[in-house]
Amino acid sequence: MPTVTIDGRSIEVEKGTTILEAAKQIGIDIPHYCYHPGLRIAGSCRMCLVEIEGVPKLQIACYTPVTDGMVVHTQSEKVKEARRAVLEFLLVDHPLDCPVCDQAGECYLQIYYMQHGLHPSRVREDKLKRAKMKVLSEHIILDQERCILCSRCVRFTEEVTKSYELGIFHRGDRSVVDLYPGIQLHNRYQGNLADICPVGALTDRQFRFRTRVWYLEHAKSVCPGCSRGCNVFVDYNVRRGYKAGGRRIVRLRPRPNPWVNKYWMCDDGRYGFTWIEALDRILAPRRAEGGQLREISWSEAIRHAAQWITEAAREKRLAVLLSPKMTNEELYTADRLFRSLGARMIGYWAEPSSPGYEDEILIRGDKNPNTAGAHWIVGRASGIPQEDHLARLAEAMEAGQVDTAVIFLHDVEGAKAGERVLRALQRVERLIYLGTNWNRTATLSKLVFPATAFVEQDGTFTNFEGRVQRFWRAVEPLGQARPILSILRELAVACSVEPLPEDPEEVFALLALEHPFFSGMDYDRLGERGMRGQLEAPVEVRVK
C-alpha cells in the first residue's frame, strides 16, 4: 500500500486512492467543486490543484492517484496562487446576486472566496447574460448565470438516476447546463440536484425563498417514508418559526450513510414531511360525546382508556393494532403492556390496497419505516401471518368477540379490505386511536390521543435490511401531543401494570436484553449510522 506525505503528514492508503481522498482521511480539506464522492470524477473545475514534488506542473488532487513516496503540498504559494486564479475565472460571469440567492450561506463560491480568494475584481467587461429562473420541473429551478459548469448535476442524472435529462450545451464561455430539448426532469431523485450543486444554480422550489439557511438548525433523523430508512437531516427554524404560521420544519436533506442511502434520498421522502405541521394534526385528546369528539384533559383521557382496556382485557375482548410506523421502543413497550393485560390479539400490519412504487435505487415498496422491527418484536411471537392481521381483526369484530380496540397510527381506509374493517370498527363501542393526523379511522374512534411525529421524539427504526438506526428529536411536540412511550407509561400506571420507562434509551436497553435480534445493541453503539441486527438475515417483507 502506498504511503503519501501531504503537508508533512504521512498516511498509508489503499492503492488507487486519489490525493483528495487521502487528504480527507487525515483531515486536510482540499477545495473542490466538481468532485463528489458519489459520482464519477470529472476533473473539470481545476479548484483542487496541488503541488507534487518532482512534477513540474500542478495536478488535480481529485483524479491523481497516490504513489508510494509521493510528497504533496496543498498550501504552498504556487497552489494558493492557482486557487485564486481559478476562483477569479469562475467568478468572471457570476452575477453575484447573493442577496436573492437561496444558496447563500452554504455556497462554495462564497466559502472558498473567503478562504482562498479575497481578490478584487479585475474584470471590466460586461458579464454574460444567461437564463435565470428557468423551471426544470416542479421541484427544481435553474439559474444558468450562477452555474460554474462543474457537471455534478449532469453526472448525477447519468449515473445515479440514469434518466439523462441534463447536459452541457454550447462551447467556451457560452457553455450552459440545460435540459435536453422537449423534456423536463422526470426522475424521482431531483431534490438531490439542489443538494449537490455547489453554487446556487440549481435550487429547490419547495425550499426557495422560505428562509435563509443560517436560520436553520439541524437534527439527525431517519426518513420514515419507506422501509429503506434513508438517513436525513431535519432542517428546522425555531428562531423565527413562530411567525411563519407555526411551520418549523423547512426541509429534509440526505445525511450520508454508505450502508443505506449513500448520499441521496428520494423526492417522496424529501417533500413528504408536510403532514407534520398540517392543519389536520391531532392536537389534543378527544372523546366522543353526543356524536362529536369533544376535547378532554389528558388525565381524563388516560382514565377512560385505562378503564376500557382493563375491563375488556379481563374478558378477553381487547384487540390491539400496532403499526410498523412505530419505533422499536414503542412496539416493545406496547407489546409488553397489552400482552401482560391479556389482549385477545395484537397485530400491526395493514396490507395496503395497492403495492407501493419501488425502484432499484432507494425507494422501497413497503412504505413503513419499521416493518422489520415490528416483525422481530411483535410478529414472530404472535404467530399470525402478517397479511392476516387486519382480516383477523375484522373477523373478531364482526363475530362480536371484540368490543374494545386500540389502533396505533394506522389509517385503515387505505388498506386492503379497508372498507370492511371500517364497517366493523363502527360497531366497536370502545375504539381508542393514537395517532398524529386525522383520518377516517380516527374520526370513527371514541377516544383519540395525539401522538408525536418522528421529528418530535427520539427512537429507532429497523430498515428492511435489518439495520437498526437511531433518530433524534428536532422540535417540540405540536399542541398537546405526547410520545407514544409516555402515553403507554401512563396507561400502564392507570391499569396497575408495572410501567416501562419513558426514555427510549432505557426501553431500548431492555429490548436488547429480551430480543436476540437486538442483542448487543445500545444507543451508543448504534451511533449515527446504525447497526445490522443479529441472527439470520431478517425476512424481507414484500407487498403482494
Binding site: P99, V100, K132, M133, F209, R212, W214, Y215, R239, R240
Partner: protein, 198 residues
Amino acid sequence: MRIPQSERELTFWERIYLPEVIRGLAITGRHFFVNMARHLAHLLGFRNVPKGAVTYQYPEERRPISPRLRTLHRLARRADGSPRCVACMMCETVCPANCIYIVAAEHPDPNIEKYPLRFDIDLGKCVFCGFCVEACPEDAIRMDTGIYDFAAYTREGMILTIEQLLSFEPAPYVQVPPQDRAADPGPIDARQRFGVSG
C-alpha cells in the same frame, strides 16, 4: 457593589422637611419669573436684557434635527414605485432586537427575482441601532424620515407594515449653517418642517 452614599448627616433644619420644600419651590419660581421677565422685556424691545431660557413649544415647534439622526424607518422605492428591497433578510438577520419580519415571494421579473411580500417592523421592540440600514445591500431600508414621535394604543399598533414603510418620504435635508450651529438656531414650526398636521 457598594452604593455611594452621602456621608453628610442631614441637619435638623433639613430633616423637618417643609422648609426645604419651600426653598425648592422658591428656586423653581425664581427661574420662572426671571425667564418670564426676560422674554417679556425682549418682546417689548429691550434688546440689551439677557435672553431668556429657550423653550420649544413641542409639538407645535420642533428642534431642527441632524440629518444623521436615526429616525423612523422607511423602505425606498424603485422608479415604478415597487419596493427596492429584495427580501435578502440581511436586516432581519442582523437585527439585535429581532423586530423585523420578512416574507419573501417570487418576482416575475428574473432580474429582480425576489421581493418582500411582508416586511414588518415591530417598533415596540426596535432599538433604533441602525444595523438594518448598515446591513442592507440594496440601500432599501433607511432611517431618514425625520419622524421620531410615534405611539399606538395597542402592541399591534406599533407594528409597521410594508405599505406604511413604503409610504414614508425622506425628511428634507436642512443644512444648518456653521455660524448657527454654535448659537441655537431657535425653534422651527413643525408643520412647516415636516408637513405634519397638528
